[in-house]
Subunit: 395 residues, 2 copies
């Protein structure tokens, strides 16, 4: 039985990933420090619906499916916590996974502060983002190098590392010819928030680990994800992943749909020409699974751009408006002063063929998919607090 260790297993993507692998017969361990739950209280944002805690979710999952997911609560920015996952000091006593050896075949690293606006609130949140994300990644590199050099590291990066360059975005690497000589480099990156900059730093650390200690690493440059339900979560509503609709932790399409449901005009920053690559949460799971099935080689930093199509912000707003119209909603779009420093009209031509080559079949965005998210938002409409949708974190 293959063993999957998921760092940040309580998060928007971490938990669905855990269920996905668990339902396919993998031994799964999830680790989290409850950051995403605690930070919501700190900055007074609530989710669309309450989500049982990680231990409760694992229990519900076991009751419904008979699969066990092992839960570890811990802060992975503390080296000892991270190292205990690889040095054999954790006790594993799963009834169903007797052949578990203590060393994960694959570790999937989501254990990061994941919000750009949160990273830009003030110097405290900026430092927290940098320190947490870099320290967790560095601790992972050292633990794997010291105890589990054959474990495949899958890291969630972000397309935001590239920014919006005026040349085509390749998958991680760029061959450069300069004054008649050639070399190959990590694609030059410049990000538009401290959060995205911390992910550039993660990639630099992983590349250092690969060059220096022959680690095997896949870095997935992911675009913004939308959606809620996955094939596993439909077993029980309590297994649904987090749904934030606020400006800080809500991703754009999920947030737009909640705004549409409560008649809050869709907040398009500036002209809305900002173009990015997007994907359905189901495709995130497919991509990670494909990368696990066909791992990077020892001594390789393999980079994929994890998106399936591109939209501008105004296009997403129009799509939401149209999907709303089909089910009887009159959705308003409102262009507001852009609170962020970013280009509103820019070239954007990313390559994203690598994961398709591994067999990923994209779920493209449709009215029907938007309609399904509408339904969930409608069901919990009474929970929606309009005052947390937009506060204008500015940079």
């Amino acid at each position: 039985m293959e063993h999957i260790l998921i760092l940040g297993g309580d998060g928007y993507l971490g938990w669905p990933t855990a269920m996905y692998f668990s339902s396919r017969g993998y031994a799964v361990t999830v680790v989290d420090n409850n950051f995403r739950r605690n930070v919501g209280k700190e900055i007074d944002v609530t989710m669309l619906y309450e989500v049982p805690n990680l231990i409760e979710r694992a229990n519900i999952w076991y009751e419904k499916t008979g699969y066990e997911i092992k839960v570890v609560i811990g802060d992975l920015s503390v080296p000892k916590q991270m190292r205990s996952l690889f040095d054999g000091s954790l006790e594993y006593d799963w009834a169903t996974n007797k052949d578990f050896t203590g060393i994960a075949d694959t570790v999937i690293h989501f254990a990061e502060q994941p919000s750009a606006p949160y990273s830009m609130m003030n110097f405290t949140t900026s430092n927290l983002t940098l320190i947490n994300n870099i320290t967790v990644t560095n601790n992972l590199i050292y633990a794997v190098k010291d105890y589990a050099p054959k474990t495949h590291i899958i890291k969630l990066g972000t397309m935001g590392e590239y920014g919006t360059p005026n040349i085509d975005i390749e998958e991680g690497w760029l061959d450069i010819t300069h004054k008649g000589r050639k070399d190959k480099f990590l694609y030059p990156r410049q990000a538009s928030s401290i959060y995205h900059t911390s992910k550039i730093m993660d990639t630099d650390l992983l590349w250092f680990g690969v060059r220096t200690w022959d680690l095997k690493v896949t870095d997935l440059m992911q675009g913004p994800v939308y959606g809620i339900d996955t094939d596993e979560s439909i077993v029980d509503e309590r297994l649904r992943t987090f749904f934030n609709y606020d400006e800080i932790f809500g991703t754009i399409l999920n947030r737009f749909i909640v705004q549409a449901v409560v008649g809050y005009p869709l907040t398009v920053y500036g002209s809305g020409g900002q173009t990015r690559g997007y994907l359905n949460i189901k495709d995130t799971l497919q991509c990670i699974f494909a990368a696990t099935k066909k791992p990077a080689k020892q001594g390789e930093l393999r980079i994929f751009n994890q998106i399936v199509e591109t939209f501008s912000v105004i296009e997403l707003a129009e799509l939401t408006k149209e999907a709303g119209r089909l089910i009887g909603y009159d959705v308003e779009i409102k262009n507001i002063d852009n609170p962020r420093k970013e280009k509103e009209n820019h070239y954007y031509n990313p390559t994203y063929q690598g994961l398709f080559n591994l067999g990923v079949k994209p779920n493209l965005l449709t009215d029907k998919i938007i309609g399904k998210i509408f339904k969930v938002a409608l069901k919990y409409k009474k929970n929606i607090r309009e005052e947390i949708i937009f506060r204008g974190v500015k940079w």
Copy 2:
């Protein structure tokens, strides 16, 4: 009177920089947390001679010259400490600098863990290096943005950020043409230690600060520095800067000379073909002074390569051997297994014209200069502990 704030003012370069500006009539404040002194005790390395503490040095400097240097002891990775330097909360009561306004015209940032081998000792020193260097730089960016946006930031970077690419190294930036389109990027960087990687991250943060908040920044990509005495330190021997000759904190030429003096064969790692750009400590001071006199523009990240000539390790060993021979020493060179993961034979062609264009007149390395360092090493020969010269920190 212009005011210069020197972060890391107790270090090998920080203190000579403080005296250099002070002797030219600038109001100078130095800040340090004594890291370089304390870490020596932790890892049991001692310097060639004892150096009075920072407050004592400032007192000696005042006695000898009549110039005051204001001393602040504090840890700049703590945001409050950093911010207190810019928000007017520090009390300034210098007898001689009555017109001091509380806001520095220029801040020179040396406040980093500066040793590559230290950063590679273990995961604790690796994390310390990353967290200290990134947090101090981020705290500086936020403090300057919030309180002193017109203050010119001069940051000591390192040529090591570039690594050893197979194309010419430009001064910080590279124009890239790709599939018929063009853009300009920070020169692609990949470093050979966690320390050097932390400096890449610093540059990324500074570039983010410049793009987002129009800061004015000069990033000096410096090569290894050699030398001890400067025109200011010769006033009194107690004003001499730190001299480390161990593998962790000793820079290469200084270390070779101490090895020569005690008859310890010069430890050349591998074939010794590793080529880097070097400069005399006096040229560091000239370069920083030139950058201060002609600051970056608001909203500009200006990058200079701060070296004056290049040598391979074996060339430096041969130069030391020859300079030793001239004063009667029979110096032996010994190639040892390279404890580091680095290329021993590589292309290396950096540009370094920018600082010369600002008027820097290089002090090139000569037998005479090496001979002077020999004299200092000889004077303190009785203090030299051979067992700390090489321990083989490996990566």
